[in-house]
Symmetry: C2
């Protein structure tokens, strides 16, 4: 049965599906990264023994709920969006922490625990003195996510379905995603995708190209990911490749701001610089949070991008990928400030 | 056999024994504290069901290894002290986190895990907008600590034995402490005690009075704890009561600085104000870290107190009770600055 797209069937602004991960954040030095074959600024998948070795070698850490898509959902919820999340954890302490931190923000999160082993996923986030972060992810329980975790009715009740590219790494998740995207399309919902990471794009380029040319309505990528998916060597080449493929393509460029590519043309939006950049973890996730929040409110895409820039500027001003300050005030300020300017 | 106090038998500057706890930090509002019968600024012991209820009701959190004494040991290790720690955790993820974070600082920590249940202790640290913290502690595996966890040879090999008053709460720990203090005295080592918390002093006043008049050489207390142990209503009354009871009594007074009470008289040391006070959790713990580090280096008690003030000023400038910045530089600056002044 095809769901009606009418407003009264919408219960959530945003439904995210992602790898449910607890971040383990520590400061690091470049020598540590090279000694452990980690590429600065990127995300590397590690197996259980490598995760063990890394943890043993790294400095004291703090644990914060993470996961790219979950960070976005958390940020959107803090802005006032009605949000839901699907992602797999194990019945262990990190799984309890992950669930608590989402639910405490009012996010509807009901994915049942997987088996006790493998344990809840963790991501070692190694933050350098220059605020760059290098990630090593042990997927753990995330590999258990499958189509059985997708409730098509829930997908139909959410205005936007948001997926992270990282989900193409665990083996069965892509079946879950195809099922979810079909449910979203059947109900005339918007499908948004973050490309997540350059290496992730390299691993799944053909599929990502098909997605962006097909079911995906809104694509988020940073500059390197945009070059990787389009196999172009210049930003203008990537912009040209992306134009017309999906309704909205957003390229985030750090301090250089963001580009919004649509049928309407290409618009550039300035970044918002915090007093000091401490840790860039979560910048892309929170940009998407601000953008998608605005989108569900019917804002112009350029205004959405300003909201994204405001949310990103908050999260890079401190350690960790979840916002700590009053996001609503920051986003309102960013939008009003620009409208007056 | 009585150990020789000679230098070549000393392997550690500091051995701490404490409740091994992972902190669960979240921002809070005063209405939340009153709704859950928590007294602002104090530490309340909670049982498992109450811990569950509190966690369910509180906002998103971050997890950081804590435990008053372990914070002190961590800070001393960051300053360059050779440090060891004894405290009980369960074989679970929080227990692994606690152990990792101490060992990653070079602290020798070999206490075997307890049973799987009760789980590793956690302390809900609720931080108010005015930077005050209110704590609710579920002792969990800490109740398993007993004399069998104390290695008297280890005690004899450490210059200072440092105990937290909170250890008088779990039932069998006090037997462990008496055993450890005896081993320290037999080897002519220094015994230091933090009074931990006003309510903790109320719960164990007579024992704490005996300790301070007996085996304890160095006592740390804040103003309220000093009034509580001495049963005086004025600071001068507390100072008078403390004078002559132990070799060194230190009263920390937040922004008002610290008082060092010894046979040499009473000396006041100014506090060091950070740019902004974010979270006072760990202020007393880090004061003790700086002080004891200086003590093991043979510094004058007033200089030790300056080092303590510097370490405390670092930890109150950010969320969490473990230092994030270069403590050595901060302490060196505080000492040199004063010597020139």
């Amino acid at each position: 049965m095809r769901m009606s797209p009418f407003e009264d069937h919408i219960e959530f602004d945003l439904l995210g599906i992602g790898n449910a991960i607890v971040d383990v954040l520590a400061e690091t030095e470049d020598t540590f990264l090279t000694a452990h074959d980690l590429v600065k600024g990127s995300m590397t998948l590690v197996d259980a023994p490598m995760a063990e070795r890394l943890y043993h070698a790294m400095g004291p850490a703090i644990e914060v709920s993470g996961g790219s898509c979950a960070n976005t959902v958390a940020g959107a919820a803090m802005l006032g969006a009605r949000a839901a999340y699907i992602g797999k954890t194990a019945p262990d302490q990190l799984g309890e922490i992950f669930g608590h931190d989402l639910r405490a923000l009012g996010v509807s999160y009901r994915t049942p625990f997987g088996r006790p082993e493998p344990p809840t996923a963790r991501c070692f986030v190694l933050v350098s003195a220059d605020a760059q972060r290098t990630m090593a992810t042990y997927l753990g329980a995330c590999v258990e996510l499958g189509p059985e975790d997708i409730d098509p009715d829930l997908v139909a009740r959410a205005r936007v379905l948001y997926l992270e590219g990282y989900l193409w790494d665990p083996p069965r998740a892509k079946d879950a995603l195809r099922y979810a995207m079909q449910a979203a399309k059947d109900a005339d919902r918007t499908v948004a995708l973050s490309l997540s990471d350059t290496f992730c794009v390299e691993r799944h380029r053909v599929e990502f190209q098909e997605l962006v040319s097909g079911p995906v309505d809104i694509m988020f990528a940073n500059e390197a990911e945009a070059l990787a998916i389009s196999q172009q060597s210049t930003l203008s080449g990537a912009v040209e490749w992306l134009t017309g493929r999906c309704a909205l393509a957003i390229i985030t460029r750090g301090a250089k701001g963001a580009m919004v590519i649509s049928a309407d043309g290409v618009h550039e939006v300035a970044a918002i610089a915090p007093a000091a950049v401490v840790d860039t973890t979560g910048a892309g996730d929170l940009f998407a949070a601000g953008f998608l929040f605005g989108y569900t409110r019917g804002w112009d895409p350029v205004v959405c991008a300003r909201a994204g820039a405001a949310a990103a500027s908050e999260v890079i001003a401190h350690f960790g990928a979840r916002p700590e300050r009053d996001l609503i005030a920051l986003v309102e300020h960013a939008i009003q400030h620009k409208e007056q300017g």
